[in-house]
Structures are given as C-alpha cells and as structure tokens.
C-alpha cells in the first residue's frame, strides 16, 4: 500500500517501547503478548491517546510483518449496520489465522457508535467466533458499551496525554523532520492539541509545510486556517439580520459538505459563549440550542431544526436593538 505522507501515521509507534505515556496500559498488554494469547480487549479514552496504535502494536508483536493478513479493521461509525459487521466478521473468521497464533484479531473502532441493540448482536457474534478470533473494541466512553460486552473484555482506560508526553512526541518529530521549534511555539501546540497526539502531528506538519522554523505565531495561524469557520460566520450572519444568508451557509454545510447536524449544533453551542452579546442572552441561547439539539436527537430533520435555531439568533438581534 502506498503510504500517505501524513505525520500522524508516519510517527505512529510500531513497538510498545515507542508508545508514549499510558505505561499502566502498556505493561499489561506486553504481558498478554508475551504469553501469545490475549482476551477480548476494550480500549476506552479520548481521541489521539494511542488506542488504535496499541491495537496495531499488539497485532504486529503477535504476527510479525504479516500482521495485516490476520487483522480485520472495522469502523462502527462507517459500517452500515450491525449486519454488515457480522457478515464481515463471519467472512474473516472463516479461514484460519496464518502462523503460530491460533486466532485472528478484529479491531472494531468507534464501537460506542453502535446502538444497544446492535451491541447485543455484536455480543453474540463475539461468542460465536471466540475460538478463532479476538476482538479489540475501541471507544471514547466505556459507559456507552453495554455491560455484557464489558464483562467479556479486559477494559483499558487511556488518559489524555500530559504536557510532558506531548513534548516528547513533538521533539521526536522535530528531530526527524529537522524542525526548529521555539518554546512558545511548543507551548502553543500543546494548548491547542489538548492531549491529542493526532492533533499535535497535524499542527506540526501544517506549520512545517509553511516554515521549518515554528513559533507561536505560526502555530496559531495554522490552527485558525485549519479551523472551519463556517459555523461562526453563519451565526454572525444571523445576528446581523441576514437570515437568508445564514440559512444558505447551513445548506452548504449539510448538503454540500455532508456535515452531520449533531456536529454543527455542538459547534454552535461552543460559539455561543464567544459571542458579543449580554451574558443573559447567552444563557437563553444555550437553552434554545439544547432544545433544538434535543429535537434533532428525537429524529427531527437537521436542516429544518437548525434553520429554526438560526431564527432564534435572528430574534436575539432584534431584542438587543429595542
């Protein structure tokens, strides 16, 4: 496979010793691998903390260079329904593992995207193939995984990376890529990344594409360039009284760019606090945002519900004038 030159992938650890932080997890995983047997695993934790990486390392340690043949990578948020997953698992589990290890590994990322019913079905699938496969389930919140699955897995919690860990990662990349990073530049990266190493790598690569010398200013510039501003601009249009313009932005985001209504409303929620409106109005708006998010969660059409929410922002502008 052609390697895409993305640093988050390029600097993804290949051995346990390269994994940054998460010692508590790594030690125990090492022990499993040494015995050449693993139970079903459940990795929970925030984005960019090494969950997928550890799953890959386990596979590499167990199977060596041929690990791809014995690993099925699935993503629950992309596989259309549990039936698709079950079918893929069935097909994959039909043939024996290549090599001395008697089982294959199925990595199911974003397992918390599965509904409770789908998880029940997954549990049965795990039981059906337990002799020939091991599951590594990955999720952000283990609380979203049903108890019967949790009880069948060894559960590992991954913590958001500390500043020290991020620093280590930054320095590793800087050395290999021959970058010069100022201390305030480093600090800026850590502030923005919030413990997410994928974001660290992305910020570094983006900054490095502009200059090999990276300082605070460059980091913030890169971060703001990469940050989608559509939501902010949409709200600003509504607040200025340009309802039709705001609605148009919304249509572009949902229909053209394919963004999910839930994600847009989450961003709106974040933006509310940054608005230049009285604090009282902010609280009122948050209440409205919650109300419409609820309606979307109830199955309302995101376009119509978000447009209705925009109308509430429009209303705010009017109330502020009077």
């Amino acid at each position: 496979m052609v390697e895409l030159e993305v640093w988050a992938e390029k600097y993804r650890p290949k051995k346990f010793d390269e994994v940054i932080d998460q010692e508590h997890v790594v030690e125990r995983l090492k022990a499993f691998v040494k015995e050449k047997n693993i139970p079903h695993l459940l990795f929970a934790g925030p984005a960019g903390t090494g969950k997928t990486t550890c799953a890959f390392v386990i596979a590499r340690e167990l199977y060596g260079d041929n690990w791809h043949q014995n690993v099925l990578e699935l993503n629950a948020s992309d596989a259309r329904g549990i039936d698709v997953i079950r079918y893929q698992v069935k097909e994959f589990a039909r043939t024996k593992a290549i090599g001395e290890i008697p089982f294959k590994i199925i990595i199911l990322d974003e397992a918390d995207a599965l509904t409770t019913d789908a998880q029940q079905a997954l549990r049965r699938t795990m039981e059906d193939y337990t002799r020939t496969t091991r599951f590594i389930l990955i999720c952000n919140y283990s609380s979203k995984i049903i108890d019967p699955i949790q009880s069948r897995c060894a559960v590992f919690r991954f913590r958001a990376h500390s500043e020290q860990a991020m620093k280590k990662f930054i320095e590793r990349i800087a050395k290999k890529e021959k970058l010069e990073i100022t201390p305030d530049g480093e600090k800026a990266i850590m502030d923005i990344a919030e413990g997410d190493l994928r974001r660290v790598a992305n910020l570094l690569q983006a900054a490095a594409a502009i200059s090999k010398k990276i300082d605070e200013e460059l980091v913030y510039e890169v971060a703001s360039l990469a940050k989608p501003k559509d939501v902010k601009e949409m709200i600003e249009l509504a607040l200025k009284g340009d309802f039709k313009g705001a609605r148009q932005r919304l249509y572009d985001m949902i229909i053209k760019q394919g963004l999910a209504g839930e994600d847009i409303i989450k961003q709106i929620h974040k933006e509310v606090y940054k608005l230049d409106v009285p604090d009282e109005a902010k609280v009122k708006l948050v209440e409205k945002v919650g109300e419409y998010e609820f309606r979307i969660a109830e199955g309302g059409d995101p376009l119509i519900q978000l447009t209705a929410l925009l109308a509430q922002f429009l209303l705010l502008k009017k109330n502020m004038k009077t």
């Binding site: 030159e5 993503n75 948020s77 992309d78 690569q205 890169v222 249509y251």
Partner: protein, 399 residues
C-alpha cells in the same frame, strides 16, 4: 409510434391499478342486456378510463366503436356513426362495445348531442361506456340519470414508477429509480403525462439521468402550489391556511419544503420568522413520529402547524408581491447527490490509509490538507492515492 400508444394496455393484466373500477366494469359488462344503463367513467386525465375500454375490447376481440365527444358537432353526426352500428351485426359475428369519450367536452351549442347520446344508451344492442373528467358538470345532469358512475382515482407514484420501469426495460434504457420517481411525482397521478415525459427525455437514449429531467418544463399544475403559498402567507385565518393545501395534490412533505423555502421571502420581521420556524420545527417532529410509529393520525398536526402555524406567525399581511421560490432542499438534494457520493468515496479511501472513521477524516484531517499540500512529499503521496479529479474536488489543486 408514440409510447403512450405503443404501451397502451392490451389486456386487463397490463392494466395499472384502478381495481375497484375494473371490477365494477367487468360485472356490468358481463351482465349487460339491451335497455340497461350505460357506464360513466369519471376521473382525472391519464388514469386509464379510455384505456380500460380499449384493453377490454382488444382482449375479447370486440369491435370498438369509438367517438370523441369533443368532435361532436351535431346530432346528425352522432347518428351517422352509431345509428347503423347499433343495429347491424358484425360481419364475423364479433361483439361490439361503444365508447363515447369526454362527454363533458360537448359544448352548449351542440344542440341535440345530449339527446342523441341518450338515444344511443337506450336503444343500443351493445354496452355503452362514457368518459368524463368532471362528473358534476351540469351539462351531464341528464346523462347521469341514465348511467352508472364509476370513479377512476389518480394513480400513485408507485403505480406509475412500475409502468415506467417496464417501458424502460422494453426500450433498453438504463435509469435510476429516483429519476422515475421524480417523473412519476411531477405527473401528479397522470400516467399518460408521465409516459409522454419519459419519451421526451428517453427516446433513442441508452440511459436517463437526473440531469436529463431539466429539459422538461413544469406542467401547469405548478400554479396550484403557488396559489396555496399565497393563501397561507397572506391570510391570518388559521382555517383558510389549512384549507389552502387541501386541493394541492402533492406529498405533504413536499408542500412542507415549499412553505419552508418561502417563509423568509414573505416575512420580514425577526419575530415572525422565528415564530413560523417554531411551527415548522414542531411540524417536522410530528412528521418524524408518523414515520417511526406509523401513526398517520399525527399527519393532521403536521399539516395544521405548517399551514395555520405559519400563517398566524405574522402580525399583519404584507401587501407586496412575493416571488415564491422552488424549494432549495429538493433541488439541492438531487443536484448534490452525485457530489456527496464523490466525497464519500474520497473519505473512504483516506480513512483506510489513516485508520480512522470517515468522520474523523472529514473533521480532523481534511481541514489540514490544504496546508499539508504545500509540502511536496505530501502532495506526491496524495496524488498516488487519489486521482486528479478527486483532488480537484477537494479544492487542493489550487493550493
């Protein structure tokens, strides 16, 4: 040969829907004796009134004596055609059936035409079928007494799609179901119109796409929806707003998008827009409940909110001319379907390389790509994974 002719049903098996009407017709025609009443088929155009009689005649090898009442000029002409046919036996002892099409097309000046028709009904040795669009036309009051009315309903989108699909298959045309569905729904239950449209876009072609539909003009039914919008937006009476959509023969969801599209075109005050959208938001939730619970009772609330709810959102009627727009939602959905497919495909490729979900690619990686691309190594590797067109689609070729 026009497709409407070519694909006319030759037997009742090919006949599309209208089960009630067909049943009534068969019972009547099989037990018909001279002196019995005629049968009066009524209903909107293009739903099979004439086609049923023709198909029956064809299948049972009957001579069909057909006359279009729009051609009626005088009683004399009518007698010319029917007079002899009524009494004489067919040459090969074939039975006969009479069809007088579009009886509501007779003008007032056609003195005696109605009487002539009555005479035919009373004296015929063979069954007589009349067709009309509007059975309540006063001109037909006498005829109604001498005939059994049978209603033909508008055809459902599903019925029409099935038939169009059959035609496409016979003509060897590749077509997506969504395209047929759009053709069917714009025909408003008129199969003949749908087949005509299909022929316009499909004759001599191997494939029909969404794009091809653009050549079709809107049939004049479009005015219906504009009138309804005008009513809803201009009235302050909830009842009048509710009644506005009663005769609009469209899917409630489609009417919903028409109203939604034009709220901000009509209303100017923020509180009116907010109020109208609040009603639409709730109407949308009822729509959702209809679909998940399959409880159609909720439909009345959806409709009331989207009409009366929007109408009463305004303080006063706007005395202005508003140019109502075609719903962007419906337009964009079909236009950008292919582009959303393209994006999905790109995200899938990238997600395999980046070992994460397409959503993560979209949110965490793509925003950075426009910066990464300045790095020649990244650029080179990206061109190995995506093709030129895909990179252009992402807008990364300009950087």
């Amino acid at each position: 040969m026009a497709w409407t002719k070519k694909y006319e049903p030759r037997s009742l098996r090919d006949f599309v829907n209208q089960k009630d009407a067909v049943e009534k017709f068969l019972v009547w025609v099989k037990s018909w004796k001279p002196g019995n009443k005629a049968m009066l088929f009524y209903g909107p155009p293009g739903v099979g009134k004439t086609a049923l009689v023709r198909a029956y005649a064809y299948e049972n090898k009957l001579d069909l004596i057909e006359m279009n009442a729009s051609d009626f000029r005088t009683a004399k002409k009518i007698n010319e055609i029917f007079g002899s046919a009524m009494r004489q036996r067919s040459l090969w002892h074939r039975g006969k059936i009479f069809l007088i099409d579009e009886v509501d097309g007779i003008c007032k000046e056609d003195v005696g035409a109605i009487n002539a028709i009555l005479k035919i009904i009373q004296q015929s040795h063979y069954p007589v079928v009349l067709t009309a669009n509007d059975i309540w036309n006063p001109k037909l009051s006498v005829i109604r007494n001498y005939s059994i009315p049978v209603q033909f309903k508008k055809l459902s989108v599903w019925d029409i799609v099935k038939r169009l699909e059959y035609i496409c298959q016979k003509e060897g045309i590749k077509v997506e179901k969504s395209v047929l569905r759009e053709l069917a729904s714009r025909s408003q239950g008129d199969l003949r119109a749908a087949i005509n449209d299909l022929e316009v876009v499909g004759r001599g072609k191997k494939e029909i796409t969404q794009k091809d539909l653009q050549v079709l003009g809107f049939r004049d039914k479009e005015t219906e929806i504009f009138d309804a919008l005008k009513m809803i937006f201009k009235t302050k009476s909830p009842m009048a707003a509710k009644l506005a959509i009663i005769n609009v023969d469209r899917d409630p969801q489609e009417i919903f998008w028409w109203i939604e599209q034009n709220v901000a075109n009509e209303y100017e005050k923020p509180e009116e827009i907010a109020k109208a959208y609040e009603a639409l938001s709730k109407a949308d939730l009822f729509r959702r409940w209809i679909t998940i619970r399959q409880n159609w009772r909720f439909l009345v609330y959806m409709m009331d909110l989207m009409t009366a709810g929007v109408a009463t959102a305004k303080k006063e009627m706007y005395r202005k001319f508003t140019r109502y727009e075609y719903p962007q939602r419906i337009k964009m959905m079909s236009l950008t379907k292919s582009s959303r497919e393209k994006l999905k495909q790109i995200l899938k490729i990238l997600s395999e390389h980046l070992h994460c979900s397409t959503k993560t690619v979209l949110e965490e990686y793509l925003p950075f790509f426009k910066l990464f691309i300045k790095d020649p190594n990244f650029k080179k590797s990206l061109y190995k994974i995506l093709d030129r067109e895909q990179i252009e689609f992402l807008g990364l070729n300009k950087q």
